[in-house]
Protein backbone atom coordinates (compact mmCIF):
# COMPACT_ATOMS: atom_id res chain seq x y z
CA UNK A 1 0.00 0.00 0.00
CA UNK A 2 1.28 3.45 -0.82
CA UNK A 3 1.56 6.13 1.77
CA UNK A 4 -1.10 8.77 1.80
CA UNK A 5 0.40 11.85 0.23
CA UNK A 6 0.34 14.80 2.53
CA UNK A 7 -2.38 17.06 1.17
CA UNK A 8 -0.63 20.11 2.49
CA UNK A 9 2.63 19.36 0.73
CA UNK A 10 3.81 21.95 -1.73
CA UNK A 11 4.79 19.73 -4.57
CA UNK A 12 1.89 18.11 -6.37
CA UNK A 13 1.82 14.31 -6.29
CA UNK A 14 3.00 12.49 -9.42
CA UNK A 15 0.49 12.34 -12.25
CA UNK A 16 -0.14 8.61 -11.76
CA UNK A 17 -1.13 9.39 -8.20
CA UNK A 18 -3.34 12.27 -9.26
CA UNK A 19 -5.10 9.93 -11.65
CA UNK A 20 -5.79 7.44 -8.83
CA UNK A 21 -7.18 10.21 -6.71
CA UNK A 22 -9.56 11.38 -9.40
CA UNK A 23 -10.58 7.79 -9.96
CA UNK A 24 -11.40 7.27 -6.28
CA UNK A 25 -13.26 10.58 -6.00
CA UNK A 26 -15.41 9.91 -9.05
CA UNK A 27 -16.12 6.37 -7.87
CA UNK A 28 -17.29 7.33 -4.42
CA UNK A 29 -19.20 10.50 -5.22
CA UNK A 30 -22.93 10.16 -5.57
CA UNK A 31 -23.23 12.75 -8.31
CA UNK A 32 -21.21 13.88 -11.34
CA UNK A 33 -18.46 16.35 -10.52
CA UNK A 34 -17.17 19.27 -12.52
CA UNK A 35 -13.44 19.66 -13.05
CA UNK A 36 -13.56 22.52 -10.57
CA UNK A 37 -15.26 20.30 -7.93
CA UNK A 38 -12.55 17.70 -8.43
CA UNK A 39 -9.75 20.25 -8.25
CA UNK A 40 -11.15 21.54 -4.99
CA UNK A 41 -10.74 18.09 -3.47
CA UNK A 42 -7.26 17.41 -4.80
CA UNK A 43 -4.06 18.66 -3.22
CA UNK A 44 -2.66 21.95 -4.42
CA UNK A 45 -0.96 22.04 -7.77
CA UNK A 46 -2.71 19.07 -9.34
CA UNK A 47 -3.53 19.10 -13.02
CA UNK A 48 -7.11 17.91 -12.95
CA UNK A 49 -7.66 18.19 -16.69
CA UNK A 50 -4.64 16.03 -17.43
CA UNK A 51 -5.59 13.49 -14.75
CA UNK A 52 -9.08 13.26 -16.21
CA UNK A 53 -7.68 12.80 -19.71
CA UNK A 54 -5.42 9.98 -18.54
CA UNK A 55 -8.24 8.35 -16.63
CA UNK A 56 -10.45 8.51 -19.69
CA UNK A 57 -7.78 6.80 -21.77
CA UNK A 58 -7.26 4.16 -19.13
CA UNK A 59 -10.93 3.23 -19.13
CA UNK A 60 -11.31 3.20 -22.90
CA UNK A 61 -12.66 -0.17 -23.94
CA UNK A 62 -13.15 -1.27 -20.35
CA UNK A 63 -16.38 -2.28 -18.65
CA UNK A 64 -16.50 1.19 -17.14
CA UNK A 65 -16.11 4.49 -18.97
CA UNK A 66 -15.45 8.05 -17.95
CA UNK A 67 -18.41 10.02 -19.19
CA UNK A 68 -18.73 13.71 -19.56
CA UNK A 69 -22.14 15.27 -19.09
CA UNK A 70 -22.13 19.01 -19.61
CA UNK A 71 -19.14 20.17 -17.66
CA UNK A 72 -19.35 17.32 -15.16
CA UNK A 73 -17.71 13.91 -15.11
CA UNK A 74 -18.85 10.54 -13.83
CA UNK A 75 -17.76 6.94 -14.11
CA UNK A 76 -20.44 4.75 -15.64
CA UNK A 77 -20.73 1.18 -16.81
CA UNK A 78 -20.07 0.86 -20.55
CA UNK A 79 -23.29 1.40 -22.51
CA UNK A 80 -22.85 -1.79 -24.53
CA UNK A 81 -23.01 -3.81 -21.31
CA UNK A 82 -26.34 -2.40 -20.24
CA UNK A 83 -27.97 -5.76 -20.79
CA UNK A 84 -25.93 -7.12 -17.89
CA UNK A 85 -27.69 -4.77 -15.55
CA UNK A 86 -31.13 -6.06 -16.28
CA UNK A 87 -31.59 -7.97 -13.11
CA UNK A 88 -30.60 -4.97 -11.11
CA UNK A 89 -33.81 -3.00 -10.91
CA UNK A 90 -35.16 -3.92 -7.58
CA UNK A 91 -38.12 -2.35 -5.94
CA UNK A 92 -38.16 -2.69 -2.25
CA UNK A 93 -41.40 -3.36 -0.58
CA UNK A 94 -41.71 -3.73 3.12
CA UNK A 95 -43.52 -6.82 4.28
CA UNK A 96 -46.83 -5.96 5.93
CA UNK A 97 -47.20 -6.41 9.62
CA UNK A 98 -49.71 -9.19 9.10
CA UNK A 99 -47.31 -10.98 6.80
CA UNK A 100 -44.27 -10.66 9.03
CA UNK A 101 -46.27 -11.87 12.01
CA UNK A 102 -47.63 -14.80 10.09
CA UNK A 103 -44.16 -15.61 8.86
CA UNK A 104 -42.79 -15.40 12.38
CA UNK A 105 -45.43 -17.78 13.67
CA UNK A 106 -44.74 -20.28 10.92
CA UNK A 107 -41.01 -20.04 11.52
CA UNK A 108 -41.34 -20.54 15.26
CA UNK A 109 -44.08 -23.14 15.28
CA UNK A 110 -43.67 -24.99 12.06
CA UNK A 111 -45.41 -27.01 10.89
CA UNK A 112 -48.27 -24.64 11.64
CA UNK A 113 -51.85 -24.80 10.47
CA UNK A 114 -53.86 -21.79 9.53
CA UNK A 115 -55.95 -22.19 12.63
CA UNK A 116 -52.88 -22.12 14.82
CA UNK A 117 -51.66 -18.97 13.14
CA UNK A 118 -55.03 -17.35 13.72
CA UNK A 119 -55.01 -18.44 17.28
CA UNK A 120 -51.68 -16.84 18.01
CA UNK A 121 -52.37 -13.67 16.06
CA UNK A 122 -55.88 -13.47 17.42
CA UNK A 123 -57.27 -12.47 14.04
CA UNK A 124 -58.16 -14.30 10.88
CA UNK A 125 -55.36 -14.76 8.37
CA UNK A 126 -56.32 -13.33 5.05
CA UNK A 127 -55.85 -15.48 1.99
CA UNK A 128 -53.55 -12.85 0.49
CA UNK A 129 -51.12 -12.95 3.37
CA UNK A 130 -50.35 -16.62 3.00
CA UNK A 131 -50.37 -16.30 -0.76
CA UNK A 132 -47.79 -13.57 -0.54
CA UNK A 133 -45.53 -15.67 1.64
CA UNK A 134 -45.96 -18.67 -0.65
CA UNK A 135 -45.21 -16.51 -3.66
CA UNK A 136 -42.09 -15.09 -2.07
CA UNK A 137 -40.97 -18.65 -1.66
CA UNK A 138 -40.45 -18.20 2.07
CA UNK A 139 -43.23 -20.56 3.03
CA UNK A 140 -44.41 -23.81 1.56
CA UNK A 141 -46.99 -26.42 2.33
CA UNK A 142 -45.90 -29.06 4.78
CA UNK A 143 -47.41 -32.40 5.55
CA UNK A 144 -51.07 -32.51 6.47
CA UNK A 145 -51.67 -32.70 10.18
CA UNK A 146 -53.03 -36.11 11.27
CA UNK A 147 -55.87 -34.57 13.21
CA UNK A 148 -59.57 -34.27 12.43
CA UNK A 149 -59.96 -32.52 9.15
CA UNK A 150 -56.34 -33.24 8.24
CA UNK A 151 -55.55 -29.54 7.87
CA UNK A 152 -52.68 -28.42 5.69
CA UNK A 153 -49.63 -27.11 7.46
CA UNK A 154 -47.11 -24.46 6.53
CA UNK A 155 -43.36 -24.60 6.94
CA UNK A 156 -40.55 -22.23 6.02
CA UNK A 157 -38.26 -22.88 3.08
CA UNK A 158 -34.55 -22.90 2.36
CA UNK A 159 -35.05 -19.52 0.66
CA UNK A 160 -36.40 -18.21 3.90
CA UNK A 161 -33.32 -19.43 5.75
CA UNK A 162 -31.06 -17.91 3.11
CA UNK A 163 -32.82 -14.58 3.17
CA UNK A 164 -32.72 -14.29 6.93
CA UNK A 165 -29.22 -15.68 7.28
CA UNK A 166 -30.24 -18.66 9.34
CA UNK A 167 -28.83 -22.13 9.22
CA UNK A 168 -32.05 -23.62 10.45
CA UNK A 169 -35.32 -22.38 11.89
CA UNK A 170 -34.28 -24.05 15.10
CA UNK A 171 -31.61 -21.42 15.52
CA UNK A 172 -34.19 -18.73 16.10
CA UNK A 173 -33.97 -17.53 19.66
CA UNK A 174 -36.79 -18.37 22.02
CA UNK A 175 -38.70 -15.90 24.09
CA UNK A 176 -36.27 -16.01 26.98
CA UNK A 177 -33.39 -15.51 24.64
CA UNK A 178 -35.13 -12.69 22.82
CA UNK A 179 -35.69 -11.06 26.14
CA UNK A 180 -32.08 -11.56 27.16
CA UNK A 181 -30.89 -10.06 23.91
CA UNK A 182 -32.99 -6.98 24.54
CA UNK A 183 -35.34 -7.66 21.65
CA UNK A 184 -38.34 -8.03 23.83
CA UNK A 185 -39.55 -4.94 25.56
CA UNK A 186 -42.81 -5.75 27.18
CA UNK A 187 -42.59 -8.35 29.81
CA UNK A 188 -45.68 -10.32 30.68
CA UNK A 189 -47.52 -8.81 33.59
CA UNK A 190 -47.20 -10.78 36.80
CA UNK A 191 -50.05 -13.22 36.83
CA UNK A 192 -50.03 -13.49 33.07
CA UNK A 193 -47.29 -16.03 33.29
CA UNK A 194 -49.70 -18.90 33.90
CA UNK A 195 -51.76 -17.88 30.97
CA UNK A 196 -48.71 -17.88 28.76
CA UNK A 197 -47.69 -21.28 30.00
CA UNK A 198 -51.11 -22.62 29.14
CA UNK A 199 -50.90 -21.18 25.68
CA UNK A 200 -47.63 -22.88 25.12
CA UNK A 201 -49.07 -26.12 26.30
CA UNK A 202 -52.03 -25.78 24.04
CA UNK A 203 -49.69 -25.37 21.15
CA UNK A 204 -47.26 -28.02 22.15
CA UNK A 205 -49.89 -30.55 22.97
CA UNK A 206 -51.09 -32.29 19.87
CA UNK A 207 -48.97 -30.14 17.65
CA UNK A 208 -45.43 -30.77 18.77
CA UNK A 209 -44.27 -27.41 17.48
CA UNK A 210 -40.78 -26.14 17.77
CA UNK A 211 -41.66 -24.18 20.83
CA UNK A 212 -40.46 -26.90 23.10
CA UNK A 213 -37.01 -26.16 21.85
CA UNK A 214 -37.23 -22.54 22.67
CA UNK A 215 -39.06 -22.12 25.85
CA UNK A 216 -36.73 -23.77 28.29
Amino acid sequence: MMDAPDPSAFAAPPMAEQERMVEAILFACDHPLSAADISARLPQGCDTAEALAQLRRRYTGRGVVLMRMGDAYALRTAPDLGWLMQAERVENRKLSRAAIETLAIIAYHQPATRTEIEEIRGVAVSRGTLDQLLELGWVRLGRRRMTPGRPVTFVVTQDFLDHFGLESARDLPGLQELRAAGLLDNRPMPGQADQAAEDDEALDGPVRGQSELFED
Binding site: Q86, R89, N92, E119, I120, R150, A180, L183, P188
Partner: protein, 257 residues
Protein backbone atom coordinates in the same frame (compact mmCIF):
# COMPACT_ATOMS: atom_id res chain seq x y z
CA UNK B 1 -28.23 -21.84 30.71
CA UNK B 2 -31.77 -21.48 31.92
CA UNK B 3 -30.51 -20.01 35.18
CA UNK B 4 -28.81 -17.28 33.30
CA UNK B 5 -31.94 -16.32 31.50
CA UNK B 6 -34.16 -16.56 34.51
CA UNK B 7 -32.49 -14.08 36.77
CA UNK B 8 -31.82 -11.58 34.04
CA UNK B 9 -33.59 -8.99 36.11
CA UNK B 10 -31.25 -9.48 39.01
CA UNK B 11 -28.35 -9.32 36.70
CA UNK B 12 -29.51 -6.15 35.10
CA UNK B 13 -29.87 -4.64 38.52
CA UNK B 14 -26.39 -5.87 39.35
CA UNK B 15 -25.05 -4.31 36.20
CA UNK B 16 -26.31 -0.91 37.19
CA UNK B 17 -24.27 -1.24 40.35
CA UNK B 18 -21.18 -2.40 38.59
CA UNK B 19 -21.07 0.81 36.69
CA UNK B 20 -21.02 2.56 40.01
CA UNK B 21 -17.93 0.75 41.26
CA UNK B 22 -15.52 3.29 39.90
CA UNK B 23 -16.45 2.46 36.35
CA UNK B 24 -15.20 -1.11 36.42
CA UNK B 25 -16.99 -3.56 34.21
CA UNK B 26 -17.16 -6.48 36.57
CA UNK B 27 -14.70 -8.28 38.82
CA UNK B 28 -12.47 -9.50 35.99
CA UNK B 29 -12.07 -5.96 34.74
CA UNK B 30 -11.19 -4.81 38.24
CA UNK B 31 -8.66 -7.64 38.61
CA UNK B 32 -7.12 -6.78 35.27
CA UNK B 33 -6.74 -3.17 36.29
CA UNK B 34 -5.22 -4.15 39.64
CA UNK B 35 -2.81 -6.53 37.96
CA UNK B 36 -1.31 -3.63 36.04
CA UNK B 37 0.05 -2.22 39.25
CA UNK B 38 2.37 -5.24 39.44
CA UNK B 39 4.01 -3.98 36.29
CA UNK B 40 4.77 -7.47 34.99
CA UNK B 41 3.72 -9.52 32.03
CA UNK B 42 0.28 -10.98 32.70
CA UNK B 43 1.80 -14.44 32.45
CA UNK B 44 3.97 -13.73 35.44
CA UNK B 45 1.44 -11.94 37.53
CA UNK B 46 1.37 -12.98 41.18
CA UNK B 47 -2.13 -14.24 41.74
CA UNK B 48 -1.56 -14.29 45.48
CA UNK B 49 -0.63 -10.65 45.49
CA UNK B 50 -3.51 -9.89 43.15
CA UNK B 51 -5.96 -11.64 45.46
CA UNK B 52 -4.77 -9.50 48.33
CA UNK B 53 -5.10 -6.35 46.27
CA UNK B 54 -8.63 -7.30 45.29
CA UNK B 55 -9.67 -8.16 48.82
CA UNK B 56 -8.25 -4.86 50.03
CA UNK B 57 -10.17 -3.00 47.38
CA UNK B 58 -13.40 -4.70 48.36
CA UNK B 59 -12.69 -4.01 52.02
CA UNK B 60 -12.14 -0.36 51.22
CA UNK B 61 -15.29 -0.13 49.13
CA UNK B 62 -17.24 -1.63 52.00
CA UNK B 63 -15.83 0.83 54.50
CA UNK B 64 -16.91 3.60 52.15
CA UNK B 65 -20.33 1.98 52.18
CA UNK B 66 -20.29 1.49 48.44
CA UNK B 67 -22.83 -1.12 47.67
CA UNK B 68 -21.07 -3.89 45.80
CA UNK B 69 -22.68 -6.05 43.19
CA UNK B 70 -22.96 -9.70 44.06
CA UNK B 71 -20.40 -10.64 41.38
CA UNK B 72 -17.74 -8.71 43.23
CA UNK B 73 -18.51 -10.43 46.49
CA UNK B 74 -18.57 -13.86 44.89
CA UNK B 75 -15.17 -13.15 43.41
CA UNK B 76 -13.92 -11.91 46.76
CA UNK B 77 -15.04 -15.10 48.46
CA UNK B 78 -13.43 -17.19 45.77
CA UNK B 79 -10.17 -15.28 45.97
CA UNK B 80 -10.12 -15.63 49.75
CA UNK B 81 -10.46 -19.37 49.26
CA UNK B 82 -7.77 -19.35 46.60
CA UNK B 83 -5.47 -17.41 48.89
CA UNK B 84 -5.85 -20.01 51.61
CA UNK B 85 -5.16 -22.80 49.13
CA UNK B 86 -2.02 -21.05 47.99
CA UNK B 87 -0.73 -20.32 51.47
CA UNK B 88 -1.50 -23.55 53.28
CA UNK B 89 0.45 -26.72 52.59
CA UNK B 90 -1.62 -29.02 50.42
CA UNK B 91 -3.79 -31.44 52.33
CA UNK B 92 -3.14 -34.87 50.81
CA UNK B 93 -6.59 -36.01 51.88
CA UNK B 94 -8.29 -33.31 49.89
CA UNK B 95 -9.33 -33.88 46.33
CA UNK B 96 -9.72 -31.31 43.70
CA UNK B 97 -7.48 -28.91 41.87
CA UNK B 98 -4.45 -27.40 43.54
CA UNK B 99 -4.25 -23.74 44.40
CA UNK B 100 -1.66 -23.39 41.66
CA UNK B 101 -4.03 -24.79 39.07
CA UNK B 102 -6.75 -22.39 40.11
CA UNK B 103 -4.33 -19.48 40.11
CA UNK B 104 -3.07 -20.42 36.67
CA UNK B 105 -6.63 -20.50 35.39
CA UNK B 106 -7.37 -17.08 36.77
CA UNK B 107 -4.19 -15.72 35.21
CA UNK B 108 -5.24 -17.26 31.92
CA UNK B 109 -8.69 -15.67 32.13
CA UNK B 110 -7.10 -12.28 32.70
CA UNK B 111 -4.73 -12.80 29.83
CA UNK B 112 -7.61 -13.80 27.60
CA UNK B 113 -9.65 -10.74 28.54
CA UNK B 114 -6.65 -8.52 27.88
CA UNK B 115 -6.05 -10.25 24.56
CA UNK B 116 -9.66 -9.69 23.52
CA UNK B 117 -9.36 -6.01 24.39
CA UNK B 118 -6.18 -5.74 22.39
CA UNK B 119 -7.64 -7.33 19.29
CA UNK B 120 -10.83 -5.33 19.67
CA UNK B 121 -8.69 -2.19 19.54
CA UNK B 122 -6.80 -3.52 16.53
CA UNK B 123 -10.07 -4.35 14.83
CA UNK B 124 -11.44 -0.86 15.38
CA UNK B 125 -8.14 0.56 14.19
CA UNK B 126 -8.51 -1.12 10.81
CA UNK B 127 -9.58 0.73 7.72
CA UNK B 128 -13.32 0.98 7.92
CA UNK B 129 -15.95 1.28 5.27
CA UNK B 130 -17.37 4.76 5.08
CA UNK B 131 -14.35 6.17 6.90
CA UNK B 132 -11.27 4.94 5.09
CA UNK B 133 -12.64 3.28 2.02
CA UNK B 134 -15.86 3.91 0.23
CA UNK B 135 -18.53 2.17 -1.76
CA UNK B 136 -19.76 3.12 -5.17
CA UNK B 137 -21.50 6.45 -4.77
CA UNK B 138 -23.89 6.07 -7.65
CA UNK B 139 -24.95 2.47 -7.81
CA UNK B 140 -26.48 1.92 -11.20
CA UNK B 141 -29.76 0.18 -11.68
CA UNK B 142 -30.39 0.43 -15.39
CA UNK B 143 -32.86 -2.36 -15.49
CA UNK B 144 -35.56 -3.03 -17.97
CA UNK B 145 -37.15 -5.75 -15.96
CA UNK B 146 -38.57 -4.85 -12.63
CA UNK B 147 -38.19 -7.06 -9.69
CA UNK B 148 -39.94 -6.40 -6.47
CA UNK B 149 -37.87 -7.40 -3.56
CA UNK B 150 -39.62 -7.74 -0.31
CA UNK B 151 -37.74 -6.40 2.59
CA UNK B 152 -37.82 -7.97 5.97
CA UNK B 153 -34.94 -8.49 8.31
CA UNK B 154 -34.41 -11.14 10.89
CA UNK B 155 -34.79 -8.47 13.54
CA UNK B 156 -38.23 -7.58 12.15
CA UNK B 157 -39.16 -11.22 12.33
CA UNK B 158 -37.95 -11.76 15.86
CA UNK B 159 -39.55 -8.55 17.05
CA UNK B 160 -42.85 -9.48 15.45
CA UNK B 161 -42.80 -12.77 17.25
CA UNK B 162 -41.80 -11.21 20.53
CA UNK B 163 -44.62 -8.70 20.13
CA UNK B 164 -47.13 -11.44 19.46
CA UNK B 165 -46.14 -13.57 22.37
CA UNK B 166 -46.18 -10.76 24.88
CA UNK B 167 -49.40 -9.02 24.09
CA UNK B 168 -51.71 -11.71 25.36
CA UNK B 169 -53.42 -9.16 27.54
CA UNK B 170 -54.43 -7.19 24.46
CA UNK B 171 -55.80 -10.10 22.50
CA UNK B 172 -58.89 -8.78 20.82
CA UNK B 173 -60.16 -12.12 19.72
CA UNK B 174 -59.11 -15.61 20.54
CA UNK B 175 -60.69 -18.97 20.72
CA UNK B 176 -59.74 -22.35 21.95
CA UNK B 177 -58.89 -24.44 18.97
CA UNK B 178 -59.67 -27.72 20.63
CA UNK B 179 -63.41 -26.86 20.68
CA UNK B 180 -63.66 -25.47 17.18
CA UNK B 181 -64.28 -27.68 14.19
CA UNK B 182 -63.19 -25.70 11.17
CA UNK B 183 -65.29 -25.42 8.05
CA UNK B 184 -62.37 -26.57 5.92
CA UNK B 185 -62.08 -29.67 8.03
CA UNK B 186 -65.78 -30.41 7.66
CA UNK B 187 -65.64 -29.88 3.91
CA UNK B 188 -62.78 -32.26 3.57
CA UNK B 189 -64.39 -34.89 5.73
CA UNK B 190 -67.71 -34.75 3.92
CA UNK B 191 -66.10 -34.84 0.51
CA UNK B 192 -64.26 -37.95 1.58
CA UNK B 193 -67.30 -39.71 3.06
CA UNK B 194 -69.97 -38.91 0.46
CA UNK B 195 -68.90 -41.18 -2.39
CA UNK B 196 -69.45 -44.19 -0.12
CA UNK B 197 -72.81 -43.05 1.26
CA UNK B 198 -75.34 -43.44 -1.46
CA UNK B 199 -78.20 -43.81 1.01
CA UNK B 200 -79.92 -41.04 2.86
CA UNK B 201 -78.31 -40.45 6.20
CA UNK B 202 -78.89 -37.79 8.78
CA UNK B 203 -76.45 -34.96 9.13
CA UNK B 204 -75.54 -36.07 12.65
CA UNK B 205 -74.06 -39.27 11.30
CA UNK B 206 -71.42 -37.30 9.48
CA UNK B 207 -70.05 -35.66 12.58
CA UNK B 208 -66.43 -36.59 13.24
CA UNK B 209 -65.65 -38.94 16.05
CA UNK B 210 -65.47 -37.38 19.44
CA UNK B 211 -67.46 -34.34 18.40
CA UNK B 212 -70.98 -35.72 18.60
CA UNK B 213 -71.47 -35.72 22.34
CA UNK B 214 -72.85 -32.42 23.47
CA UNK B 215 -72.00 -28.85 24.24
CA UNK B 216 -69.85 -26.45 22.36
CA UNK B 217 -67.90 -29.08 20.46
CA UNK B 218 -71.01 -30.65 19.06
CA UNK B 219 -72.48 -27.29 18.12
CA UNK B 220 -69.30 -26.31 16.33
CA UNK B 221 -69.05 -29.61 14.47
CA UNK B 222 -72.73 -29.54 13.52
CA UNK B 223 -72.58 -25.99 12.25
CA UNK B 224 -69.44 -26.62 10.20
CA UNK B 225 -70.74 -29.89 8.78
CA UNK B 226 -74.06 -28.29 7.86
CA UNK B 227 -72.33 -25.35 6.19
CA UNK B 228 -70.05 -27.79 4.38
CA UNK B 229 -73.01 -29.83 3.12
CA UNK B 230 -74.63 -26.66 1.76
CA UNK B 231 -71.43 -25.84 -0.05
CA UNK B 232 -71.25 -29.36 -1.53
CA UNK B 233 -74.91 -29.21 -2.51
CA UNK B 234 -74.17 -26.03 -4.36
CA UNK B 235 -71.41 -27.86 -6.18
CA UNK B 236 -73.86 -30.64 -7.00
CA UNK B 237 -71.98 -33.28 -5.07
CA UNK B 238 -74.62 -33.92 -2.47
CA UNK B 239 -78.41 -33.98 -2.19
CA UNK B 240 -80.16 -32.78 0.92
CA UNK B 241 -83.66 -33.10 2.25
CA UNK B 242 -85.68 -32.26 5.29
CA UNK B 243 -89.18 -33.67 5.93
CA UNK B 244 -90.43 -30.75 7.93
CA UNK B 245 -89.28 -27.70 9.80
CA UNK B 246 -86.83 -28.80 12.54
CA UNK B 247 -86.93 -32.36 11.24
CA UNK B 248 -83.54 -34.04 10.84
CA UNK B 249 -81.60 -32.92 7.82
CA UNK B 250 -80.65 -35.83 5.60
CA UNK B 251 -78.09 -36.04 2.86
CA UNK B 252 -76.63 -38.47 0.43
CA UNK B 253 -73.85 -38.40 -2.05
CA UNK B 254 -74.73 -37.72 -5.63
CA UNK B 255 -72.96 -39.36 -8.46
CA UNK B 256 -71.49 -36.62 -10.55
CA UNK B 257 -72.30 -37.22 -14.20
Amino acid sequence: MSDDWDNIDDRRAAEALIVDVDGFEGPLDLLLTLSRSQKVDLRRVSVLQLSEQYLNFIEQARSLRIELAADYLVMAAWLAYLKSRLLLPPDPAEDGPSGEDLAAHLAWQLERLQAMRDVAARLMGRDQKGRDFFVRGQPEAVAITRKTETQASLLDLMRAYARLRTRDEFRPYAFNRSDIYALEAALERLARLLPVSQDWASLQQFLPEGWGKAGQRRRSALASTFAASLELAKQGKVEMRQADAFAPVQLRGRETP
